[in-house]
Symmetry: C4
Subunit: 126 residues, 4 copies
């Protein structure tokens, strides 16, 4: 199976990276992840824009997801054009040049036991 599945644009309205966590690093670092799946036989170039409550969006953050691969991208790790601010509400839009599937997950380790959330991102019809 290597046909392309999914959409070229996805939105995640929820985003928040706590500035601290508990537990062994890096598995239990509080983190916010976009899980991206590229089933096609073409490498995907993915552009991410981060939206805020009180300032202009930042981006694009450029990521590669090779053909027939998944990438579990931690927003914590984005550096260019600038790190995603901690303790700040944000949202994101993810655009790709080939169809992909995107799922959103957060591990919150601020308290002694971690909490998890996950949801399919919103697929935008183009």
């Amino acid at each position: 199976m290597n046909k392309a599945i999914g959409h070229k644009t996805w939105a995640i309205a929820e985003g928040y990276i706590p500035s601290y966590g508990t537990g062994p690093e890096p598995a239990f670092t509080s983190h916010e992840t976009a899980c991206i799946l590229n089933t096609s036989d073409q490498d995907a170039t993915v552009s991410i824009w981060i939206y805020f409550e009180d300032k202009d969006p930042i981006g694009p953050y450029i990521q590669k997801v090779p053909a027939r691969r998944t990438k579990h991208l931690r927003f914590n790790d984005l550096q260019d054009p600038q790190p995603v601010p901690r303790d700040t509400d944000y949202a994101s839009v993810i655009e790709s040049d080939v169809p992909i599937v995107v799922q959103h997950t957060r591990l919150d380790s601020r308290q002694s036991e971690n909490a998890l959330l996950s949801t399919i991102a919103f697929p935008v019809n183009s």
Copy 2:
């Protein structure tokens, strides 16, 4: 990227704000959030209606989400026309004059460790 994405009407069938919580306020106050993303270049006027099990819906609660901004709206903070009752099952419908994306998140801090849930809201085709 500043084209409008999403839908003008969204529904969240689940809603419940516990009347108490544990942990430092306000980050660990039990809360129920509608994360709204407006990627368009027009400010959005958002009208929220709250539905109950045993009485008529209340609303509209009016909120602004500026162009190219996100707003993580805590139902706890809604005051006008009246606060959302605690310890009460509710649901909500969110209508906007420009397309938006809505995701639903709850942090439940009633016990010593917080629990999280999140899901994309239901996008209504108009």
Copy 3:
């Protein structure tokens, strides 16, 4: 707002009611909930079928959701034609005579701190 929104058929592939829990009852009883929203001006008659791994489906469980009301239905409370078995994997299909919106939530209180999950149910196009 009292137009009908949603779908007439929904599916929830996940279902599991633990047979025990911890914490004050009934708020912290482990439970599995279908949150149903009926925004229309007609009362909804809802029929629920429960599917299992190794026996025929059971149903219909009949529930009413009045016009412009929500109902947060605990699967724990279903009694007729028979209670939903505990500690058993199941799935459900929810059919309504008017369009509704359905969201699935579980509170798992088997351990000392509760865990939560939620997702929009799968809307079936009719």
Copy 4:
């Protein structure tokens, strides 16, 4: 009700099986589950492909879901063609010869209190 509902192809971009857990086995073993519902009157043959970050996909894992049955499939239990590696990010694509509904759930018991996540999988239009 025994008409077929759902889609023939689903994708889950998120996947991760921790290599350890706490609590009584097997209920509290950390696990990753695809909950599959087949409402049709035909048995379904389901083929699962696992995608990785840095190597070619593995599959197909073949599973049967009988007519009018659900199957809550733990990725932990997949053995043929080979077990799913632990502590490794993956994604999955699920294909069936009859329409099914798929929901994704994880129980993470690495810490003393379990955490849960769940989301509807991504339904692919064929």
